[in-house]
């Protein structure tokens, strides 16, 4: 399922180049449009497909095991907080799915500095940020004593 780019849709904006974790979406110097320069290092993660504002990128099952005639298309709508999928089989059958992707506003996560600064006592103890409260248990961070350990076969 490596990706490919439709000539008439791509405007060369470079979003896909910026996001591809494999560094394989590049802008072709002659056509000034995106191409997958190394399809056999594509994970079909769809990061580029989701990021393309023109819906210019699609995937085609890898030639060594996937017959032609299928498609898996997606539309990610961050402002709506959803992602939609359309799966089309070789035999023409179709399946559609929609899932939520986020329950809060984009950009709304508070920086750790918005928490009160930790005390020396917390720094010396085993708690991490937001703990012990964020564990939702009484008694604080659980611990063990080293005499509970023994060497060797179980």
């Amino acid at each position: 399922m490596p990706t490919f780019v439709y000539m008439e849709r791509c405007d060369g904006c470079g979003h896909c180049v910026d996001i591809c974790p494999s560094d394989i979406m590049h802008i072709d110097k002659t056509y000034r449009r995106a191409i997958n320069i190394e399809p056999n290092m594509c994970w079909e993660c769809y990061s580029c497909v989701k990021a393309c504002p023109q819906n210019a990128i699609d995937a085609r099952g890898a030639a060594d095991f996937a017959p032609l005639g299928h498609s898996v298309r997606t539309l990610r709508e961050p402002e709506k907080g959803t992602i939609s999928w359309k799966v089309k089989f070789r035999n023409g059958h179709e399946k559609n799915f929609v899932s939520p992707i986020r329950t809060t506003d984009w950009g709304s996560i508070p920086a750790p500095t918005e928490l009160p600064p930790p005390s020396d006592e917390e720094f010396e103890s085993q708690v991490l940020a937001h703990e012990p409260d964020a564990l939702n248990i009484v008694g604080g961070v659980p611990t063990l004593t080293s005499d509970q350990f023994r060497k060797g076969v179980i």
């Binding site: 399922m1 490596p2 996001i19 591809c20 974790p21 494999s22 560094d23 320069i37 190394e38 399809p39 056999n40 290092m41 994970w43 079909e44 993660c45 990021a51 995937a59 890898a62 030639a63 060594d64 095991f65 996937a66 017959p67 005639g69 299928h70 898996v72 992602i83 999928w85 799966v87 089989f89 070789r90 035999n91 799915f97 899932s99 939520p100 992707i101 986020r102 329950t103 809060t104 506003d105 984009w106 996560i109 750790p112 500095t113 928490l115 991490l128 940020a129 937001h130 703990e131 964020a134 939702n136 248990i137 659980p142 063990l144 509970q148 350990f149 023994r150 060497k151 060797g152 179980i154």
Partner: protein, 614 residues
Amino acid sequence: MGLFSRSKTHFVDSDVLVIGGGMAGCGATYEARHWGRDLKIVCVEKANIERSGAVAQGLYAINCYMGMQWDENQPEDRVRYARNDLMGLVREDLGYDMARHVDSTVHMFDKWGLPMMKDPESGRYLREGKWQIMIHGESYKPIVAEAARKAATEVYNRIMVTHLLMDEKKENRVAGAVGFNVRTGDFYVFRAKAVIVAAGGASHIFKPRAVGEGMGRTWYAPWSSASAYALPIEVGAKMTQMENRIVLTRFKDGYGPVGAYFLHLKTYTENAYGKEYESTWYEHTKGLVGDYIDMHPVPTCLRNHALLEEVKAGRGPIRMVTKEAFQDPHKETVGWENFLGMTIGQAVVWASQDIDPKHTNPELTTSEPYVMGSHATCSGAWASGPEDFAPDEYQWGYNRMLTVDGLFGAGDTIGGSAHKFSSGSYTEGRIAAKAAVKYIKDMGRDVPQVSEDEYQGLKKKIYKPLENYEVGRNQITGGTVSPSYIQPMQGLQRLEKIMDEYVGGISSHYMTNEPLLTRGLELLATLKEDLEQLGAEDLHQLQRAWELHHRLRASESVTHHTLFRKETRWPGYYYRGDHMKLDDEDWHCFTLSQYDRNTGDWELEKAPVYHIID
């Protein structure tokens, strides 16, 4: 001075340097800011943290959540589970430490906006199995990245880190790292007081099952390039359990995970003739591993073993029986969304081959081996344990510090602590970052210094593949065949072939022995010589060249470890044909290795395993 070593050099000074902005790296970046309010925290990533690492396409489950608030599981339970699954050998101190904190991590994700599925009756997180909770995790990575960006002083995307730098004054102390920008080609020298390596696991060490265009459709991401191992190995950090590579039973060709299918959808496997087969291998497996076959759940490697034996007996392919479960429309939706949320390629394979699991039971197969430290496997660096209870042999400094001063690790980097998954890796990043801040505060003014000689030498070395190509290319009329250089992909394919045929990959049904491993090491040594002649046409290939260097170093480590452990501890992951049985008397221990960068020698030793009573 060579052609390309004239590239511009940038110096970046920091207190905490986080290498790799995946799950563990984002956790480390966030936590470092909480404890080090006034510190300079820098995260450096070879891709873009918005969608990098193993979670780039999202996940459909968080595989490690205790649920202590509802008394569903306690950290001790997690330790027992991981210990059983890894045939007795895990660092129980590290596992307990991760498990006691992991719930607070998951509660943070929930608050930040990750859609968690809830049980409509109890209101609790919906369980897929005893340990897993279900999420709509398409945006898992963007959410985690948002928090990391808010915490970091600076995030550097598209910088491939190639080497760590050591302090010029104090022996065995880290002082930073170097790398190059994959877009501009500029050289970067990161000077830091503490370094956290969180660069993920390793795919493409062994030859994958796909034979062409599909070779990137591996289970673990093709960009998991073993930097997490090569970086510490090369500065002399001790490694552990590198022989414990993992093989996964997955849906054929797309590598779609089976967890939700077994646990939530209650599908099950059968052989080509519709028969249950696992129980028929019980006595045979007991003969190899003794009582370990009686553990519940059955260890992952032993389930692989039964599948492999059944296929070798001529009763393959093995299929997942989905036809019954998929009659329920809710289950059918979960089955599909599970893949669309984390392994889209499996949906593509099924669509292309007209496999609708409602009408066809899909095939399963075993994957090529991977090297990693966060799944049902525990390869990685040997780390110091938690201060409050780790046994003396497991504690020489700060929590999650490796055997090099100031060098920390988390996630796939850390060995001995299996079953962390996404949430546990993030949590381990948090643990390592708090310890790194402590290390810096205790350090006072005695700060590390990088030597100009060292980074200038590395600069020359890093750009050499571009020069090799430039020079060699003029010798030939065109094409990819040169007598003076090999390309990164050609080198990668040689590496995969050596590892596959000599170190226990798919083509030998994961079988190896001492003569094979010894020959494998010879072949790796000549490949290492050839890597001095890698030719890179552009910066993209230069990144591939250094990924290959890292993969080769990790492969050497895997091979030495496999040779050292003279038993078959994990049948189904790999077999030592000359030592087919598990041997608790001699090998109920960890294996440790150390590489000497001056001599190129590897030293191996055993380290004790401690168990929590009961």
